[in-house]
């Protein structure tokens, strides 16, 4: 925290400068550094992979391992072909719907557990029990219930999303500054006012941490369910390609999925920065 004690010395707009001032570098330089370093390590990794895949074709079966110089063309082929986009769209929708349902459910459940002792006593032990069972194992169940279409994928994505949001909502709402609560009491704030003006907002960073992992989990859930039984989606493409030992395509599809995951994560990150702008790591990316 910089001292703005002496207001004669501090113009009002000083606050805006603190973020970059503390980091000690310009925003552009920071971004450039990040991009260069990431690209550098990615290149290094691909280089090692390429070398390994060429060492001894007899020892490293090339068809199965595949190599970057084959994967990259396969990737470009994939992103220029319509059917990959169609399947990506399917996986995207499953992820988003699953995320929306699971996150909304987790949030509402978390709020109820946080505000009602009775509700908490009735449900929390069961919630913990469910949390400790691996939810991906539900995939066959959902496929049996909802069939090979999108709904079983949405269901698994939602089931996986639910818990990180729930747990983070509960902890976020539970950890509230004691003095802030005293302040609200001294102002004669109602329970509802304390919730809206204080608890919910102070829980936001924690809730967003939950949302971020939930979104990644939603994608994982959708793809796993696709792998196990589907007639469309990126998981199904990967399953089909690997069945035919077209490993270049498998890796290309994985890259597409990775980019989708990254894009989704960046969107949540952006929303978080806008909504939870006060949180301490807002300028750390």
């Amino acid at each position: 925290m910089s001292a703005v004690e002496d207001r004669a010395l501090a113009p009002p707009e000083l606050g805006d400068l603190f973020a970059s001032e503390i980091r000690g570098e310009s925003k552009l330089a920071a971004v450039a550094k990040q991009v260069l370093l990431t690209a550098g390590s990615a290149f290094l990794l691909l280089g090692i992979w390429e070398v390994l895949s060429r060492i001894d074709p007899a020892f490293w079966p090339q068809v199965i391992l595949s190599k970057p110089t084959d994967i990259i063309p396969a990737f470009f082929k994939a992103i220029t072909s319509g059917f990959v986009w169609e399947n990506l769209w399917v996986t995207f929708q499953e992820t988003i719907f699953g995320f929306a349902i699971g996150a909304a459910g987790g949030f509402l459940f978390g709020v109820l557990i946080a505000i009602s002792r009775t509700f908490s006593r009735a449900t929390y032990p069961i919630v913990i029990l469910f949390q400790t069972t691996p939810r991906v194992a539900l995939a066959p169940v959902f496929i049996a219930w909802f069939g090979f279409g999108m709904s079983s994928k949405v269901a698994l994505a939602a089931a996986i999303c639910f818990f990180p949001v729930l747990i983070n909502t509960i902890t976020g709402l539970a950890v509230v500054d004691e003095n802030a609560l005293l302040l609200m009491r001294s102002l004669k704030a109602s329970k509802f006012q304390t919730f809206v003006h204080l608890r919910l907002l102070s829980a936001m960073p924690s809730i967003f941490a939950g949302l971020k992992s939930a979104l990644t989990f939603a994608l994982i859930g959708a793809v796993i369910a696709e792998l196990l039984g589907s007639n469309e989606g990126m998981g199904q493409l990967i399953d089909a390609a690997s069945f035919l030992l077209q490993m270049d395509d498998v890796f290309a599809y994985l890259m597409v999925l990775g980019l989708l995951g990254l894009a989704l994560f960046l969107v949540v990150n952006l929303v978080e920065k806008k909504l939870v702008f006060w949180h301490s790591n807002w300028d750390e990316g």
Binding site: M1, S2, A3, V4, E5, R7, A10, P11, P12, L14, G15, F18, D177, N179, A180, L182, L183, M184, R185, S186, L187, K188, A189, Q193, H197, L198, L201, M204, F277, W278, H279, S280
Partner: protein, 287 residues
């Protein structure tokens, strides 16, 4: 002179308030309206925590009456129950025995005409300075039209102008406490309760804020109970310093501070000031 007058009700109650107030007021037209009936009366307040046998007696039989406009400090070692007493007066904590009244009315729960301030500024990081100061209005669902004007007024008073739209994290600790003070002043409470408000600040910032607090309290004539560990701070700000002792928490003595008002930083250099600091130290058993 006050010390030599006979005490009207015995004990620490009913000290000669009008004399003190007259001393405090600058403008003769402002001299007492009510003949010195106490605004706040703390009567036989005790507080025990925990089970009766094993429990801890945080406060034992505290009596104190405070007139309108008076500035009172509570000093004493850690654990002597200063914060506990303040919470009881605020209505946040029930007393085990005894009662506190404000304007003759018993305090049983928090009231909007009592304002509190803590060692930490406790600002909401998602609200700007201005909106933090408006919090009491928002909670009271007070839609008065002069909200903005009142906020501007207290911002001016505490020297925060220019920072209305900054967020708390952009301010130093001292500035944050100014905002907390604004939030307290904005709803114009009858009684202000300050629990070591500058305790976490560095020496320089604290001295400066003390001078400002003295100025503001003289200007706004707010009845104030101020908790501090700092003896010189207490003497500088107060009309009376209540010296408390520990185990059990109780009032040991009350030292009248009849330094002239307005209190300016220069008062610290006077003999009278160091004499009163000496009185408080003696009462605390430090010399």
């Amino acid at each position: 002179m006050v010390k030599n007058q006979p005490e009207q009700r015995g004990g620490v109650l009913g000290r000669s308030a009008p004399a003190r107030r007259a001393n405090r007021r600058l403008d003769p037209a402002e001299v007492p309206r009510d003949g010195g009936t106490p605004l706040v009366a703390i009567e036989g307040v005790s507080k025990a925590f925990g089970a009766r046998e094993t429990g801890l007696v945080a406060l034992q039989d505290v009596n104190l009456s405070i007139t309108d406009g008076e500035f009172i400090s509570l000093v004493g070692p850690s654990g002597c129950g200063k914060s506990t007493l303040l919470k009881i007066v605020s209505g946040l904590l029930p007393a085990s025995r005894g009662q506190v009244t404000l304007g003759g009315e018993r305090i049983v729960s928090p009231r909007r005409d009592i304002g509190m301030m803590f060692q930490t500024a406790t600002l909401f990081p998602w609200r700007t300075v201005k909106r933090n100061i408006m919090l009491p209005f928002d909670i009271a669902r007070d839609k008065r039209t002069d909200r903005e004007a009142r906020v501007a007024e207290v911002i001016q008073l505490t020297g925060l102008d220019g920072f209305e739209n900054n967020y708390p994290r952009e301010l130093s600790g001292g500035m944050q406490q100014r905002v907390a003070l604004c939030r307290l002043l904005v709803s114009n409470p009858r009684l202000m309760l300050l629990d070591e408000p500058f305790g976490a600040l560095d020496e320089f910032t604290r001295e400066r804020l003390n001078v400002e607090l003295a100025r503001i309290s003289e200007l706004e004539r707010k009845t104030t109970i101020f908790v501090t560990h700092n003896i010189t701070e207490a003497v500088f700000l107060s009309d009376r310093v209540v010296v408390m002792g520990t185990r059990p928490g109780r009032v040991l003595d009350i030292v009248d501070i009849e330094l002239p008002r307005p209190r300016r930083a220069g008062v610290i250099a006077t003999h009278e000031y160091s004499d009163r600091v000496g009185d408080v130290r003696r009462a605390l058993g430090l010399v």
